[in-house]
C-alpha cells in the first residue's frame, strides 16, 4: 500500500474513529506500532494477526460468511497462493501486506504450511513475496 492509499484508509475510518494519531509507540507486551506487526517468527505473527479470523489451531469459523480453516487445507499446497492472499487479500480476506514486511510474510506462510496438519516443506522465499507485491 502506498502512502496515499494507506492514509485514505485511515481517513475512511475516521468515521467510527479517531485517528491513531501518534501511532509509533511500541509495547513491552508484544503489540507493535499502529501500522506494523512487531513479531518476526511465524507462530508469533500468526498469533498477532491471522488468529483473529482463522482462529487458534487454524480451524476457521462460520457465521453469515466464513473464514476458511487453514488446518489440513489442500489449497496451501501451492505456496504462491497463501503468499498472494496475505499480501493482496481477496473477498473477506483483507490485504495484510502493509502490516508485514517480506520476511514476515515468508515466515507466517511457511508456518501455516507446516503446521495445523499441513506438511508442505517446500518453503516460500522472500523473492516469492516480493513478486506478489503490487
Amino acid at each position: 500500500m502506498n502512502r496515499i492509499t494507506s492514509f485514505a484508509a485511515t481517513v475512511a475510518v475516521a468515521a467510527f474513529a479517531a485517528f491513531p494519531v501518534f501511532g509509533q509507540s511500541s509495547d513491552s507486551t508484544g503489540f507493535g506500532d499502529a501500522s506494523k506487526i512487531q513479531s518476526r517468527d511465524g507462530a508469533g505473527i500468526y498469533a498477532a494477526i491471522c488468529r483473529g479470523c482463522h482462529m487458534p489451531e487454524g480451524v476457521g469459523a462460520v457465521g453469515a460468511g466464513k473464514y476458511p480453516a487453514l488446518a489440513k487445507n489442500e489449497k496451501l499446497e501451492a505456496g504462491a497462493y497463501p503468499v498472494v492472499m496475505v499480501v493482496k487479500g481477496q473477498k473477506a480476506m483483507p490485504p495484510l501486506g502493509s502490516y508485514l514486511d517480506d520476511e514476515q510474510v515468508t515466515a507466517v506462510v511457511n508456518y501455516i504450511r507446516t503446521n495445523f496438519g499441513n506438511n508442505y516443506t517446500d518453503a516460500v522465499t522472500v523473492e516469492d513475496v516480493q513478486a506478489a507485491r503490487p
Binding site: 485511515t10 475510518v13 501518534f22 501511532g23 508484544g30 499502529a34 498477532a48 473477506a92 502490516y99
Partner: protein, 528 residues
C-alpha cells in the same frame, strides 16, 4: 531571528504539525469525507409502484430505511435478517446481553442497568442531516456527545515521562508559543513581503488575542495564559488565597512531545462540536426503525444464494441457527445491504463487473473495549465530564460517558478503540485478554483502574459473525475501478449500505446510499 530556545529541528517539526493537519483536511476534502451531507429532507417517491415487491437483504440501517420508505408508498416489502434482531452495526451492548463471536467465544455483558457501549457507530456529526432527520421523525431523543474535553488528557509514553497532560495545557501552550513566534517574525519584518504594514498591525493584534500573549507579545505565565490553561491556585471567594497563574510548558517540550498531533481532531468537520448521540445507546435508532418495519422482517435468516432473471429475484436461505432445509423467497426487486465481506461468499447472479466489485472490497479492522468501573473516578477525582483522552498506547483512546454525570454507582468507559495493526492484534486475543490489555494500557493514564475495575466486554469487528469486518475500506484506486459497478443497479438488484457511499463506516453513508438506491429503483419501477 528565531528565539534562542528554538532549534531548526523544533521549527520544522512544528511546521510539520501545522502542515500535517492542513494536509489531512485537504485529503479529507478531496476524498469527499469532510462534506456536508447532501440530504435535503424526506425522500419523495412519486408515482404508483403498482404492487411491486421488494426483498431487502439485511436489517441494518440501510435495509430498514429502504423497507420503511418503500412500504410507505405501496411496495410489498420483506426484510431478511441474519441476526435475531435488527440494527446491524447500529448496536449497543448492555448488562444481560450475551454476545458470541466467531470461534464460539462467548461474552456476557455484566454492566449495571442503564450502562452500555456502542461497539459500532457512537457519535453523530451535526451535519449528518439524514440520520438526524430520521431521529427526529422517529422520536429518537438525542443528547450532546462530548468530543473535545479540555480537561481530558493527551498522553504519550515517550513524552513527559509518560505522564498524561491536560488537553487545555497542550492546546493553550502550543497556540501561545506559535503565536509568540509569529509575532516576533512579524515585528522583525520577516513577513513584509507577505503582509502589508496595515495588515501587520492587525495580525499582531490577532496573534496576541489568539495565543493569549501578554502586552509584549510574549507567551508567559500570567493572567492571559492562565485564562486558557488554568491557574495553579484558582481564583476564590472571600479571603481565600490569591489566584496564582500557572507555568506554561516550554516550547521545545511541547513540540517534541508530539501531543499536538491530537489537537486538530476536534476541528475536523466530522468531529466538530456539537456532536450528538441517542439517549440510552446508539441502538435506540435501530429500535425506532424496528418499531416501523419489524413486522416486515424475518429474522435468523442466512442467505445462501441470490438469483435473478428478467422477471424476478429469488433468494435461497436457511435458518441461521439450525441450518436445515433451503427455503426461497421471491420478489420483483432486491435491495441488498449484505456487507461485501459476506456477499462475496454467497452465490450471487450479477454481472462480471459487479461481482468483481463485491470480491475486491476489503473490510477494515476495529476493536472496542467497554470497561465498567465501581465508581466514576474520572469525574470524582479528575473532573473529566465526557470527552476523549488520546494516547499512543495500543488502546488509542479512552472515552468518558457523555451522559448521566455525577450519577452514583458504577460507570462505563470506552477503554479502547483501535484500528489497523492494533485492531488485528486485539482481535486475535480471547475477549478476556483484550480486556486485560485495555486495562493495562489505561492504568498508565488512570491509576484508579487497578482498584476500581469491575468487568468488561470487547468486540473485535473481524470476529463479528454477521459482518466479518468493520467497514468497507475503499482506496482511491479501488473506487476508480469498482465503485460505479458496486453502486449501479444490476438487473433487479441494488446494493446499499455504508460501503456504497463516500462516507464509509458512518450511519449517514448507509442511509444516503439506501435513499439513493431506492430512488433510482423507484424511477425504474414507475417508468417501466
Amino acid at each position: 531571528m528565531l528565539p534562542p530556545q528554538l532549534s531548526r529541528r523544533d521549527l520544522l517539526t512544528m511546521i510539520g504539525a501545522l502542515a500535517g493537519s492542513e494536509a489531512m483536511y485537504q485529503a479529507m476534502t478531496t476524498l469527499g469525507f469532510a462534506q456536508e451531507s447532501p440530504y435535503k429532507g424526506p425522500i419523495k417517491l412519486d408515482g404508483d409502484p403498482k404492487g411491486a415487491s421488494v426483498l431487502v437483504l439485511g436489517g441494518g440501517l440501510a435495509g430498514m430505511v429502504a423497507a420503511y420508505e418503500l412500504s410507505k408508498v405501496g411496495y410489498k416489502v420483506q426484510v431478511l435478517e441474519y441476526r435475531e434482531k435488527a440494527g446491524g452495526r447500529c448496536w449497543s451492548l448492555r448488562g444481560g446481553d450475551n454476545y458470541t463471536e466467531l470461534g464460539g467465544f462467548e461474552q456476557e455483558c455484566k454492566f449495571d442497568e442503564g450502562l452500555y457501549i456502542n461497539p459500532g457507530p457512537w457519535r453523530i456529526p451535526y451535519h449528518h442531516h439524514a440520520v438526524l432527520d430520521y431521529c427526529k421523525r422517529l422520536g429518537v431523543k438525542l443528547e450532546a456527545f462530548v468530543q473535545v474535553n479540555h480537561n481530558a488528557y493527551l498522553h504519550s509514553v515517550k513524552a513527559f515521562e509518560g505522564k498524561p497532560q491536560r488537553y487545555r495545557h497542550v492546546s493553550a501552550d502550543f497556540n501561545g508559543h506559535v503565536a509568540e513566534l509569529l509575532s516576533k517574525v512579524t515585528k522583525q519584518g520577516g513577513l513584509d513581503q507577505a503582509v502589508s504594514t496595515e495588515d501587520r498591525e492587525k495580525l499582531l493584534e490577532a496573534l496576541q488575542s489568539w495565543g493569549a500573549l501578554d502586552e509584549n507579545y510574549a507567551y508567559v505565565a500570567g493572567t492571559h495564559s492562565s485564562e486558557r490553561r488554568g491557574f495553579d491556585i484558582e481564583p476564590g471567594g472571600g479571603q481565600m488565597p490569591l489566584a496564582k497563574p500557572s507555568q506554561p510548558i516550554g516550547l521545545s517540550d511541547i513540540v517534541q512531545s508530539g501531543l499536538w498531533s491530537s489537537l486538530s481532531t476536534g476541528s475536523l468537520y466530522d468531529f466538530q462540536t456539537t456532536m450528538l448521540q441517542p439517549v440510552g445507546g446508539m441502538d435506540m435508532i435501530a429500535r425506532a426503525f424496528e418499531r416501523e418495519v419489524g413486522s416486515l422482517t424475518k429474522y435468523n435468516v442466512k442467505v445462501t444464494e441470490i438469483d435473478q432473471d428478467d422477471e424476478s429475484v429469488t433468494i435461497r436461505y436457511e435458518d441461521a441457527r439450525k441450518g436445515g432445509e433451503a427455503q426461497t423467497a421471491t420478489a420483483d426487486w432486491c435491495i441488498c445491504t449484505v456487507p461485501f465481506s459476506v456477499l462475496s461468499q454467497i452465490k450471487t447472479k450479477v454481472s462480471t463487473k459487479t461481482k468483481a466489485a463485491i470480491d475486491n472490497l476489503p473490510y477494515g479492522a476495529a476493536i472496542k473495549v467497554g470497561l465498567q468501573f465501581k465508581r466514576r473516578f474520572w469525574e470524582e477525582d479528575e473532573h473529566i465530564y465526557g470527552g476523549i483522552t488520546y494516547t499512543d498506547l495500543p488502546n488509542t483512546l479512552i472515552s468518558y460517558p457523555s451522559t448521566d454525570y455525577h450519577s452514583p454507582g458504577k460507570g462505563v468507559l470506552l477503554g479502547a478503540f483501535s484500528l489497523e495493526a492494533w485492531a488485528y492484534e486485539f482481535t486475535s486475543l480471547p475477549p478476556e485478554e483484550r480486556i486485560q490489555k485495555a486495562l493495562e494500557y489505561g492504568a498508565q493514564i488512570h491509576p484508579q483502574y487497578k482498584d476500581e475495575f469491575d468487568n468488561g466486554v470487547a468486540v473485535g469487528w473481524h470476529r463479528v459473525p454477521w459482518t466479518l469486518g468493520c467497514y468497507g475500506e475503499w482506496t482511491e484506486e479501488k473506487r476508480k475501478e469498482h465503485y460505479h459497478a458496486a453502486s449501479s443497479i444490476d438487473g433487479r438488484i441494488a446494493m446499499a449500505g455504508e460501503h456504497i457511499s463516500y462516507m464509509p463506516a458512518w450511519m449517514e453513508g448507509a442511509i444516503l446510499s439506501s435513499l439513493d438506491a431506492i430512488g433510482r429503483l423507484h424511477q425504474r419501477v414507475v417508468s417501466g
